[in-house]
Symmetry: C2
Subunit: 362 residues, 2 copies
């Protein structure tokens, strides 16, 4: 700055800016946060949501509010992201709430539950159905405030070494599958396993496990599961639309100026839509390549789906009976789901049905 | 401010803030814009997107960037929103680009085209498929820069006084339906009519028209069409996911500080998701009430859908042959659509299919 400009600014400062400067200083302080992702950078679509949010907030605030993204393991391990936010070790995380069903199964509704909402319906529940309020009320005891943080869309049912035709084929099946969904399969005799992403391929190859679910074509292709398990099942009935969320330490959230809260909220919406858009744009080519390389696509049979549906409903009833917090969110979420599918079957579903058939016909 | 604080601030100003103040002044000027909506306030879900964007931008910028929403007719009529932005009469509009197919049919891809993308796919095309770039390149000659601005989801096929069972039933049918879709129906002998929202009810009641399409249960119920036309058809194959956009005068957009551009972009994403979420949350109850009041839900027959599909493809071929701009966007959009439905038929569709049947079964 030239001396003359400085003098002018200083003079003005003595009159007009004497009032406005403190307001600016208060509303636009320099803040540096860290957002720890539960995902590695190699899962670029999902990891990218934290980067998109951080860049949007920096752009909006002229770099005054800087949020630096860290991959899983750089600050804390991926599955400790919520703990790190609760304790204030980091201000923020990008994570899948259902990773924390071990603390309380109620966390699952922040991502997906078996036979739950599809991706668009999950957004509707969060944003206009009272879902974010219900979840934030629950997260409060963990010192967490949440925002929307993306969605994968309906996931695939995973990779199987052998075909699954009947419910009996699930008996004894050793499958890499996460918390709540694993408990549904357990009711049908399967043996769910928790295995980190990088260890799935060798376990499938050696036959230590019989099956593994991951995400969908774009992410699954990178890990090469098609080379060791030929059958690729669908749909992932335990993740009809798997949502991610941004978790923010509640005290840190409460202490933010209103402007930064608003910036974060809108930036989270940007990241939310972009992540889903990227998956939707990237999955088709990966699916085509997988099928060209010999992958056998298989829908779960009606018998298998019905048995899982029944087992899931039993698990909901049992968990609701034991856990009032779970029951409260479950009842809210399921009432919304039933309304959504009442409407979905009319215009949305028949439209997609026609478009799929018309495309196949050419 | 107390004198002591002011003196402290002034002293600091002579050192640190001497450098940072001009940056703040430049990046956070006071700006007042107007956003003219193409919709009346009574269409609260769609009109609300402009209000949500305006509030988010004001909150983010501490009211320095104020965007005042106006309903259709308050500044300019709803269908002149794009012209008002082009000419700079207003800085911004919230509108359905397909209203402007009379200027150039290429505008239609900014909202929806017959047998086009569903709502989530339209977002994917805009945000990750290059769609926003392609549309903004096209809009440039109208001095328009666009952002995402919401979606209604798949619309209903509208209200009919008599059942439509065969293609022959479309012959001579006088239907209130918009531009490009009307031209498809014209090929099948229908007589499309442009009638403003408020005039549809009396026209349907008197039989001046035989049918009318509007939006979906939540909006249609308000206009009372069910009282004068008993058959409510689906799906609205001409609007598988009708997108809205924010149109911004390009010179005004280019002149914004980077921070305000970023604020607008993220706020548009907030409005985009919220509008869809509101429709998804509100349509089920309206549908239930309409059916309880005697509305007869009817799917378009396969024969009718196939004839419309064929007529739409003819229209695309004819328009592409005449209009290179249309052809360019059409080819980009349709390649994306074909990829999307390749993927959609696997996990998404089979999941929705199961959920709809399971719900019906109870």
């Amino acid at each position: 700055m030239k001396r003359r400009q400085f003098l002018t600014a200083a003079t003005v400062g003595a009159t007009a800016t004497a009032i406005s400067m403190p307001a600016i200083a208060q509303s636009a302080p320099e803040i540096k946060w860290r957002v720890t992702s539960s995902f590695p950078k190699s899962l670029d679509t999902i990891y990218g949501a934290a980067e998109t949010l951080a860049k949007a907030v920096a752009d909006i605030t002229d770099n005054k509010f800087q949020i630096q993204p860290f991959a899983a393991g750089e600050v804390v391990p991926g599955l400790q992201a919520a703990d790190a936010v609760s304790s204030g070790t980091v201000e923020m995380a990008h994570t899948a709430p259902y990773y924390y069903v071990g603390k309380d199964p109620t966390f699952a509704f922040g991502t997906a539950v078996p036979f739950g909402l599809n991706a668009r319906q999950q957004n509707a529940w969060f944003v206009s159905g009272g879902g974010l309020e219900v979840m934030n009320e629950f997260y409060k005891e963990y010192n967490i405030h949440s925002l929307v943080g993306g969605n994968t869309g309906c996931q695939m049912g995973g990779w199987f070494r052998k075909e699954i035709k009947t419910v009996a084929d699930l008996n004894g099946l050793k499958m890499r599958i996460g918390g709540f969904a694993g408990r549904v399969l357990q009711k049908l005799g399967s043996v769910p396993q928790q295995i980190a992403g990088g260890d799935i391929y060798p376990a499938l190859e050696k036959g230590t496990i019989d099956a593994a679910e991951w995400v969908g074509p774009y992410d699954d292709q990178k890990l090469g599961f098609n080379k060791v398990a030929p059958f690729y099942y669908y749909p992932g009935w335990w993740e009809g639309g798997a949502a991610l969320q941004f978790f923010i330490n509640k005290a840190k959230w409460d202490s933010l100026p209103k402007t930064y809260k608003a910036a974060l909220e809108s930036a989270a919406h940007f990241a939310n839509t972009e992540m889903q858009a990227k998956y939707d744009a990237r999955n088709p080519a990966a699916l085509r390549q997988l099928v060209a390389a010999g992958t056998q696509l298989r829908p779960f049979t009606g018998e298998v789906m019905d048995a899982c549906w029944k087992a899931a409903n039993e698990l909901y009833a049992e968990t609701s009976a034991q856990n009032p917090k779970f029951k409260k969110v479950h009842d809210h979420y399921m009432a919304f789901r039933n309304d959504e599918y009442l409407w979905w079957q009319v215009a949305e579903y028949t439209y997609d049905n026609y478009m799929i058939r018309a495309r196949a016909r050419g």
